[in-house]
């Protein structure tokens, strides 16, 4: 199916960039689990030479992600961090400067602190919801801005179009980590960004079964640069993981809709709960940047976080009392997960920085899965009741939730 045709996103997820299997006409593209490819004559290949460089199954995934992003074939990586590492190794060199959102995945912060800073690549981590602060941080050495919106874990948003105006004016690149929303719910490239970054581990694959990442952009030269670096450092996605990701991608639009619907229901329930101090979810009227979310997102996504009025000990106790929600890192899969950012995803972030960013020790992050909202709420209710004693939510009927695991 050609990419020129305009299809709805749920159709694109299935047919977009579909590479026909020329050999056997299989409806599902084969897994080319091979390290190398035979040469027709010495040095002459049919497009693939070695699976560290390229592989037909990886190509099929890249075509599909490209179709969803509205770009040429994307570039896929073994992990999301391999994609981000390649992004910077491709766009900056010693002496250059990078601006990064202050609220980002802890692993991205660690990449700068432990690796890139040591190579002479400087970074400013700042509040990218503040356009004035962003422009003020631009120096002659600045080459690229990476934002994460919504930011992990406090859901702080950055105005993609606003920052794109700054990067255009100063001749910089703008990369957006769109992992929380995916191209189904947010289109950074259409809002003026140059590069879309995805941890495909999350919603794209969606079943907690693989780790992976991707970079998409419209600039063929930049894509070539990504492929060159990927080949050089050996960061390409594996054939089987590509195939599994391709399989997950097909249900992405219907999953994102379910994740978003349920997350909004849970966010509203939590906000009304007497023991909950605040809920961070862009779909709530109380969310300071709700208008921005409505402007640049299709819906509000499946991620939210909240804080109890009580302290960290109670937050941990509530997490431990959950039975349906699974305590695990990662997000975006069919199973609902609960994470304690301060000790898990953001454990490597210095404590002062965490406090400043609102990543308090009492913050609980939820990745809302595909379970029924009633069951997920019943589990949260029983955990809160258990920790705070009795019927913590006075008005509600107590539902019985089957212990899951």
């Amino acid at each position: 199916m050609s990419n020129e045709e305009k299809f709805q996103v749920s159709t694109l997820a299935i047919h977009g960039g579909r590479v026909p299997d020329a050999h056997a006409e299989a409806v599902v593209y084969p897994i080319f689990q091979t390290a190398t490819f035979e040469q027709q004559e010495t040095g002459v290949t049919k497009g693939h030479s070695y699976s560290r460089v390229s592989n037909p199954t990886v190509d099929a995934l890249e075509q599909a992600i490209g179709a969803l992003e509205g770009t040429p074939q994307a570039v896929c990586f073994r992990t999301g961090m391999a994609a981000i590492t390649t992004l910077f190794l491709s766009t900056v060199k010693t002496g250059d400067h990078v601006i990064v959102s202050d609220v980002v995945y802890g692993g991205t912060m660690r990449l700068f602190r432990e690796v890139l800073n040591g190579l002479g690549i400087a970074n400013s981590s700042l509040d990218t919801s503040d356009l004035v602060a962003v422009e003020r941080a631009v120096t002659p050495q600045t080459k690229i801005i990476l934002i994460e919106t919504p930011g992990n874990p406090t859901m702080k948003l950055a105005d993609i179009a606003g920052i794109a105006a700054i990067t255009r004016k100063h001749g910089l690149l703008l990369a957006v980590d769109n992992t929380f929303l995916t191209p189904v719910l947010q289109r950074p490239l259409e809002l003026g960004a140059d590069i879309s970054v995805l941890s495909t581990t999350k919603y794209i694959e969606g079943h907690h079964a693989t780790v992976g990442g991707s970079l998409a952009c419209s600039d063929e030269k930049l894509l070539e640069r990504f492929r060159l670096v990927r080949k050089t450092i050996g960061a390409i996605q594996a054939p089987l993981d590509s195939w599994l990701t391709l399989r997950g991608l097909k249900t992405l639009p219907i999953r994102m809709k379910a994740h978003s619907d349920t997350a909004l229901t849970i966010a509203e329930w939590l906000e009304a709960h007497p023991y909950v101090a605040r809920v961070y979810y862009p779909g709530l009227d109380s969310f300071p940047q709700k208008a921005l979310a409505e402007r640049q997102q299709a819906t509000f996504g499946g991620m939210l976080s909240f804080e109890l009025k009580a302290g960290p000990a109670e937050a941990i106790a509530v997490m431990n009392a959950l039975r349906l929600w699974i305590r695990a890192e990662s997000l975006g899969g069919v199973e609902s997960l609960v994470t304690h950012p301060a000790t898990a995803t953001h454990a490597d972030v210095p404590v002062e920085t965490r406090q400043k960013l609102g990543i308090t020790d009492g913050l609980i992050r939820l990745s809302v899965g595909l379970e029924a909202a009633e069951d997920l709420i019943a589990d949260l209710r029983q955990a809160l009741d258990l920790v705070f004693g009795g019927n913590s939510e006075r008005s509600a009927d107590h539902e019985v939730c089957q212990p899951a695991r």
């Binding site: 709805q8 079943h207 907690h208 899951a404």
Partner: protein, 396 residues
């Protein structure tokens, strides 16, 4: 727990010290014994495999059965059930069966002295008239494929039990989300899991779930003895696909309902078979014994040639056998999935040669109707004087 929660909230790796979120793929043929004469819970993957066990237990729960069994294909599952019969036993089956099942019943089982007779199971009296003292198994699909007739499972279950026979229901077109035949009195529920259960056209697999422990022991014995169990990697893919079953089917079914109504109003369509249409003869029964009409439908155009041209002109509908996948597929059952129906069986069923079957996927409905509209226009460009009646012999 609600169905959506049950699909994703279960122990995916019982006892596993690492607590992974996805079930480990135990791609191993055999298992080490602690002692020479003592086996652990697993000894050989034909007999049992931890990845398959997780899947089989989940399926038993979803079907409200006692034990589930997974096979390398739907036909392997059906074959296993027929192995419960002995030489001299008889099967009475509904006349609108999947072609492969007909082939098994008529061309394979006859070699072992088992005979199959076919009758319209929607007409209980006619169907009952075929039952004899030697009938050991009643067999049906509901809704049927490809005519989407709805069979009263409870009535046929009563008939089976009054005659000392078992009722097996192939519920592939429904999945446990929409229908639980065991709750309606069936003894055995079968699935071609290749369809909705796996849902991505990437696995061939079959399922048997039973509620009687004695029957379960027999099925297990046969599965192990004949070596027809599902492999570990396919079991993993199956488990992964199963988690989105409700989401996929909700979307597919909504699309199917819209498409059925759209087809019904289309001037080039003469009839539409879909139990979700209020005009369908099976509408009331379907809504009594199932929780939805599913995502498979069929229709006729009045002309074999027009049907063929229309099918070939679609671009978003892959022309292929099988159904239930997230991508929409289209077929001419008379020439494809049901071509293996032996002629003597074909006589019992009225399968119109111009019948087009569609399995509706999760694409956007506006893209699907646009594609069909274009295909109908292509089919219409060449005038076609041949009617379906005159053309039947050619295709059969």
């Amino acid at each position: 727990m609600k169905f959506a929660s049950r699909l994703v909230s279960f122990d995916v790796a019982p006892g596993d010290p690492y607590r992974p979120m996805a079930t480990p793929i135990y791609q191993t043929a055999t298992f080490v014994q602690e002692q020479a004469t003592e086996f652990g819970p697993y000894d050989y993957s034909r007999s049992g495999n931890p990845t398959r066990t997780v899947l089989e237990e989940q399926l038993a729960i979803l079907e409200n059965g006692r034990r589930g069994f997974c096979f390398s294909s739907g036909m392997a599952a059906i074959t296993c059930v027929t192995r419960l019969l002995h030489s001299g036993d008889e099967i009475v089956a509904d006349s609108d069966l999947y072609g492969g099942t007909c082939r098994l019943f008529t061309r394979v089982l006859d070699r072992t002295g088992i005979t199959a007779r076919y009758a319209d199971a929607c007409d209980t009296e006619t169907f009952a008239a075929q039952v004899t003292g030697r009938t050991k198994l009643l067999y049906l699909e509901s809704p049927t494929n490809p005519l989407l007739r709805v069979v009263d499972i409870r009535q046929i279950a009563d008939l089976a039990h009054a005659n000392g026979a078992l009722l097996a229901v192939d519920s592939s077109a429904m999945s446990p989300y929409l229908q639980n035949p065991l709750d309606l009195g069936a003894d055995i529920v079968l699935h071609s899991a290749t369809k909705f259960l796996c849902g991505h056209s990437d696995v061939t697999a079959g399922v048997v779930v039973v509620k009687d422990e004695e029957l379960a022991k027999q099925i297990y014995f046969l599965q192990n003895a004949e070596g027809s169990a599902l492999g570990p990697f396919d079991a993993f893919l199956f488990l992964r696909g199963l988690k989105t079953l409700k989401l996929r089917l909700d979307c597919q079914q909504k699309n199917a309902q819209a498409l059925a109504e759209w087809l019904q109003a289309h001037p080039q369509v003469s009839s539409v078979n879909y139990p979700g249409l209020a005009s369908s003869p099976g509408y009331l029964l379907q809504h009594r014994q199932a929780r939805g009409a599913g995502a498979v439908l069929s229709f006729t155009t009045g002309s074999v040639e027009a049907s063929r041209r229309m099918v070939e002109a679609t671009r978003m509908f892959s022309i292929c056998v099988s159904f239930g996948s997230i991508n929409s597929t289209i077929s001419l059952p008379g020439c494809m999935s049901h071509a293996s129906v032996p002629p003597e069986v074909g006589a019992f069923r009225e399968l119109p040669a111009d019948l087009v079957r569609i399995s509706v996927g999760i694409e956007d409905i506006s893209d699907l109707t646009a594609d069909l509209e274009r295909a109908f226009a292509v089919a219409d460009t060449i005038s076609d004087p041949v009617t379906a009646d005159e053309d039947t012999s050619e295709v059969a």
